[in-house]
Symmetry: C2
Subunit: 421 residues, 2 copies
Amino acid sequence: MQRILSTQLRAHVDQTVTIAGWIHRRRLLKSVAFLILRDAEGLSQVVVAEPETRAQLEELAEESVVEVVATVTANEQAPGGVELTGPKIRVLSAVTAPLPFELHRPAIGASLPTQLDHAALALRHPARRSALRVAAAATAGFRAALSEQRFVEIQTPKIVASATESGADVFELEYFGRPAYLAQSPQFYKQLMVGVFERVFEVGPVFRAEPSDTVRHLAQYTSLDAEMGFIEDHRDVMKALTRTLTVMMATITARARLATPRVPSEIPAVHFSEALRIAGAPADEPDLAPAHERALGEWALREHGSDFVYVTGYPMRKRPFYTHPDPADPAYSNGFDLLFRGLEIVTGGQRLHRYEDYVAALGRAGEPLEPYAGYLDGFRYGMPPHGGWAIGLERFVARLTGTANVREVTAFPRDLNRVIP
Amino acid sequence: MQRILSTQLRAHVDQTVTIAGWIHRRRLLKSVAFLILRDAEGLSQVVVAEPETRAQLEELAEESVVEVVATVTANEQAPGGVELTGPKIRVLSAVTAPLPFELHRPAIGASLPTQLDHAALALRHPARRSALRVAAAATAGFRAALSEQRFVEIQTPKIVASATESGADVFELEYFGRPAYLAQSPQFYKQLMVGVFERVFEVGPVFRAEPSDTVRHLAQYTSLDAEMGFIEDHRDVMKALTRTLTVMMATITARARLATPRVPSEIPAVHFSEALRIAGAPADEPDLAPAHERALGEWALREHGSDFVYVTGYPMRKRPFYTHPDPADPAYSNGFDLLFRGLEIVTGGQRLHRYEDYVAALGRAGEPLEPYAGYLDGFRYGMPPHGGWAIGLERFVARLTGTANVREVTAFPRDLNRVIP
């Protein structure tokens, strides 16, 4: 008999069906026992009144995998309005080891390190599972929005000959007898691919050997990257990003059943110097501290009813060498950040596009040209004005789901102290 | 004026439009000059009759990026039936360096190493570009097919504490003061995630430190991975894969305008021992050599009119330890390969799902349990019968486009000798 899912039970009242999944919980009362079965879509309640089946259930620990053939019975008291009666249980995989923590409570009782040590188990908890569904939906929405806007998906190297974003915080590896590094971003490659497709995107892992043990840093995270050519300046990039966020939110609501904030058709944007003023920071600060970002988030919500705010025109000295200066005031850049509920989740901007500008910028930064030779080669042969952005997926999902630590929305996080499981 | 694309010109006959792109080719004839402009979608022919504009064009080397304002004029002799006349050219990025090779011939004249040295330029060639579009469409089709079949997308660690597929051929890196490795596949993680979502997929980079310098090996390639629970055996996996391939082919045809082979609703499947007989190999061969795969590809086409053939039941001794044996004959496995036009492009099968079977299998393989502790933990807490597959994207695209070397369908390939650009 074809297995059906927990969410399909209501359509089968009074029929005999097969369901399958994990024993989420057993409640062994005196007169009757309940088996709560978890499958990919939800929970089902199985009523066990028969002594033989009850004896079998008593031997089956939580998380055992079983197939149940039973009758679907309407019962308005039962979760979802249906329950299963007269069950026959077939064991697919019996659990004999005691669980390190229970999964059927609203939150996992164990400490986060214990949860992460047993990630394969902890991720089965409905709250953890649901955050990963949000991540999957966000990613699907990102791709859909960009495909609709004529971006082409690319896959770029994760092993590179020289550090991309900065010399520090990079993982070194042994590559056929010579040193190489894990890519800190697909920055250079996505720019070069603008020369091929004009508009490109990539969803992939990036690696940061950051010694920061905080709730928002991971040694590997998923970067949602986009880059587009033939722009006037960074404002074209912000427009494409705003559209992308709108589709991402709609996709998350549709696929992951999570209420998402409205994305204004025009997200409020403030220049960096104005942002300092709003945040009450000294006018000579070169960057925004987390407290400033929070203040800006509150300001955007209060003044514009928006969970989002763009900060534009970051000072050039705090942005990477490939950043395009503001033509009207070259101390400032055409770079921007997007803050979501007071946290930076996207960095983007217009990039330099002329070979000679790169040579000059690297010279000013005191950097040799040689490590960038492969990158610069593409600019030697004609690149349009372009820009793009990168969204940190885990930070975005954490902020959206109200989760304090990015590790709770990452399947098997990697950090300073953790490389297993 | 809003820029339009080369493919939109026909809808604008007799209008003045703005187009932009790269100077693909110049033809400076005595009485008139032609500028062939390349954008993301195709080519446009611009007729330059005006002396001043011609003088400007003479200074602009191929691959310069320009914006052209001109009138769309119907001309049945022109490619696409339209050309642009009376142009005004604005230079966005001038090329002054000589190109290492020309892009406007049917094939790039330079050797493959020279092309790869200048990958950012070579990838602009229409043939190279079109192969990458096929890769993007294949990936999109893969995801669409699996989402439709209730698979959830996951992102898994690429830095791992121990080798996944085998101890050899693994890149070692320095991870916060201790050794770690680049993941050779998401195998263990996708299996563990079956415990969370029942059905999962991942598109991501995998890393093989293979010292093989061949046309089909890369040190980093893109793996299209899927894994599904609650199967009877490997045949359920093959059914899901067949459906997935069907959607992938349709998506490639629709999005990348490439004719694709028919995927039979039931792809012919032969048992390994039968495959040896068909290929004319000795009955005690433990694996299929490339020549055997080619012979099987010819057989499938001849006997079944199919470009695809499954080989099932590979001997256990040639499959990894997590492979599920054939219950009817445990010397053989429930593992399969899919050959496409005589080349293996997919490996898959049913996996072990019981903790005690893993302990026994690792014992038989003479492997200690400890490096697998994080992996085995998930099996201790209940896993359903499951299986899955991995498609090598670059091999698949190379075979589909009739390209000899996987490096020609990879944006910036990594191999034994190459880590730049």
